[in-house]
């Protein structure tokens, strides 16, 4: 009897141990991220909430023909093959691209990725007569395909894309255009609201659960086509937390593991609590877009004076080191950075220039926002800029408004805005957004982003040459010359570049912060 009892006890103990081991082996690892976004970004393949939406609800669940290489902190991210393994321009016709699609890729719902899927996706945003046309997606993703005239199937894994004008930077545009499951949308009867209940992409994460305005939960795609990017955690929980102090508190209390943009004054507290603060330059520019066709800033001396009046080190110190001095739209690690003028802090020199230009005191009016994507800490930063400019002979009037109103001012353009400048940070993630669309005449409002109506025939000429140059090295030379030409004109008031601070729980390892607005969360290991 004793031996039976003992055997029973031993068996029970062994069972308990095995059950415990099995339980811990299957325990799910969860990465919880606090976003600065005020809401869950659109999760159906056309993210909103700025580039944070692309970061968390775009490149997580979806892929594009090209993707951003987010594996390094040492250089600005560039594109690499994604759902296309390669692409080339037709040597006889510089309007025609051939894209070779990646084989053996499936969407999360099992639908095959192939030329038909690709063409279906282009129609989703380009062909208003197609049953899958989505006006929302067309507006939110259409910028990437606006120069596409047509897409043709060559075979199951090859498509031809014809552009309207020479577009050497098309691969960058298409790196922002996500492919969603045509099977999923068709199964939902082309009802995108229904599709949104179970969206499907090809990305390293799959949709699992959404509680509107509260949380978006994704799970790892163990069958992701790039085995190096299969997530090292099981679940990714995305939580919108627009209030910076709330994000810091959530991290300190263990509610989240990864926090976007902790405010500078919380960083010492977070560090003291053992959190890891990571920073890296990325293509961000905190600046003032200036109206240069008329008004005080139409005179290059006034623009230079403004740049000389800024004590950038003071600004960096106020931000507790989470920014670097800015003298260019681009950051140094970008290939077309060139050799911009470096403005030393010289308020007396600024005053002399203003006297020479006959603008003393020089009255200027800036539109600013109280918050917003990429705007960092706009109120104290603008106050400091105003103080420095006023000391150098300017008389600055700041007109604060909410972010949505400032976006409207941006789209209106300088002429209709009534402002001499606006504090509107931008994301020069590639040459198209950072140089061409910012400075070429055809991109003046309402067409795009040359807010201040900068006009320089040489710059336009170089821009057209760059668009028609398909050799990367040669194009980079043209773009660098173009950027140098523009920077010599001091078309903006440059202040700082954000260093993209993030705060991580010490239990996270493996994260590599890319020099990009987008980040790869897949290598993160969530340790117990």
């Amino acid at each position: 009897m004793k031996s039976i009892k003992l055997r029973g006890v031993l068996a029970a103990a062994a069972f308990a141990l095995a059950a415990g081991a099995a339980g811990s082996a299957t325990a799910e690892t969860v990465l919880r991220v606090a976003m600065t976004a005020a809401d869950i970004p659109d999760w159906t393949g056309a993210p909103d909430q700025g580039y944070e939406g692309y970061r968390f609800a775009g490149y997580t669940m979806y892929d594009a023909l090209a993707l951003w290489d987010l594996s390094s902190s040492d250089q600005a991210a560039d594109i690499v093959p994604g759902l296309a393994t390669s692409w080339e321009i037709d040597p006889t016709n510089n309007l025609v691209w051939t894209y070779h699609l990646r084989a053996d890729v499936k969407f999360h719902d099992g639908c095959a990725w192939n030329a038909d899927s690709a063409i279906w996706n282009f129609s989703r945003v380009m062909d208003s007569a197609s049953p899958q046309f989505n006006p929302r997606h067309a507006a939110m993703q259409g910028s990437g395909v606006v120069n596409v005239a047509g897409v043709e199937k060559i075979d199951d894994l090859t498509i031809k894309i014809t552009t309207k004008t020479p577009a050497s930077l098309l691969p960058y545009d298409l790196a922002m255009f996500y492919m969603i499951s045509n099977c999923g949308v068709e199964a939902a009867g082309n009802d995108y609201a229904k599709y949104g209940e179970k969206p499907a992409g090809t990305g390293p994460y799959m949709f699992d659960k959404l509680v509107p305005h509260e949380r978006l939960e994704l799970v790892k795609n163990a069958a992701y086509w790039n085995p190096d990017r299969v997530p090292k955690h099981d679940r990714l929980v995305l939580l919108p937390m627009p209030e910076a102090s709330t994000r810091a508190a959530a991290l300190l209390s263990g509610q989240v593991d990864f926090v976007e943009a902790p405010s500078p004054d919380t960083i010492p507290v977070l560090k003291d609590a053992g959190m890891n603060i990571v920073t890296v330059p990325y293509p961000h520019n905190w600046d003032y877009l200036l109206r240069v066709d008329t008004g005080p800033f139409s005179d290059i001396r006034v623009r230079k004076a403004a740049n000389m009046a800024i004590n950038r080190q003071d600004m960096v110190d106020m931000l507790q080191g989470v920014a670097t001095a800015g003298y260019n739209t681009l950051i140094e690690s970008q290939a077309w950075y060139g050799t911009p003028p470096i403005y030393e802090y010289d308020p007396e020199g600024a005053k002399a220039l203003l006297e020479e230009a006959g603008c003393m005191p020089c009255k200027v009016k800036f539109g600013i926002s109280t918050s917003g994507s990429g705007q960092m800490q706009p109120l104290p930063m603008n106050e400091l800029v105003k103080e420095q400019l006023d000391e150098a002979g300017f008389e600055v009037e700041l007109v604060p408004m909410d972010w949505n109103a400032l976006i409207n001012v941006f789209f209106q353009g300088a002429e209709k805005s009534g402002f001499d400048g606006i504090n509107f940070s931008m994301a020069p993630i590639d040459a198209s957004q950072g140089i061409l669309k910012k400075w070429m005449t055809p991109y003046a409002p309402p067409s795009c982003c040359n807010w201040g109506f900068y006009k320089n025939d040489k710059v336009d000429e170089l821009g057209n040459a760059a668009l028609a140059e398909f050799d990367v090295e040669k194009r980079n030379i043209i773009l660098t010359e173009m950027n140098n030409t523009v920077m010599a004109d001091a078309p903006e008031l440059f202040v700082v570049h954000d260093l993209n601070p993030r705060a991580l729980s010490p239990k996270l390892t493996g994260y590599v912060q890319a020099q990009s607005w987008f980040q790869d969360l897949t290598p993160i290991v969530v340790n117990p």
């Binding site: 609201a193 509107p212 509260e214 508190a249 976006i407 982003c449």
Partner: protein, 317 residues
Amino acid sequence: MWMYALRRLILTIPILLGVTVICFALVQLAPGDPVQSLVRPDATPEQIQSLRAFYGLDQPLVIQYLLWLWRVLGGNFGMSISTNLPVATEVLRAFQNTIVIALISVVIAFIVSMILGVIAATRPGSIVDRLVTAIAVFGISVPTFWLAVVLVIFFAVELGWLPATGMGGGSDTFNYLDWNDFKFAIMPIIALALPPLAIMTRTTRSSLSEILNQDFIQTLRAKGLSEFSIIVHAVRNIMPSAVAMLGLQLGYLIGGSVLVETVFTWPGTGFLLNKAILTRDLPLLQGTILVLATAFVLINLVVDLAQSLVDPRIKRS
């Protein structure tokens, strides 16, 4: 009384219409555009215009308003521009998340304020009276936003007793009867309860003091009633105004909890309203305002009816 209630209900219709017209007009006056906040900076004018047309934003304002009203009368609150989800679902979910904590907050505030008000009014000029007054002044003066942040720092970060933010695993599975969920609601409830508690304490104290100085109280004392019985009599006399105050405070909490909900990321109507304003999401804004206005009006109607139950001298006819 039923006729009174019916008449009041009928009168809510023009009130609500007026509220929606004013809300619609105010949003149109504000600069900004819901579509521009969705698209990238390099979106073309044609893309923006196409999306505006899709949402009917290219129509004349009067037509936009009338079309919205027509749909609402048919029970369709439209789709949120920023989330592309049905407004009715959005607002209902947010309203549920707010009404529960608002009710708990205002009930706690009411009970505590009555106790503190009675204590202070029955000991005028004493240390207790001064302490209660100080608490009331503090509660009225302290910015709710600041209080919310301090609560988070103290209870969540320093002590680790309570979670800092959110509704746990999500409002869809939130269970107020489960401690693991309810602890997420504690700090928002405290932050919401303090201002109405302070206001109702002061109101209770001053009203009760006035009643206790009236002749009939002297008569009750002369008749030999205990102090407790006298206080009960006195409190009954202030109940109509206390109930009115409770209703008002509940209405304010339902519609005015933007700051608290933002700090705690509590997905209620305040959070939703804030988001709708910032993104100029007109369908969501109109829908939320309409629901809040309806709730406010109905709460006031209930309060008025409750007053006549509490005080027979008030005849609603």
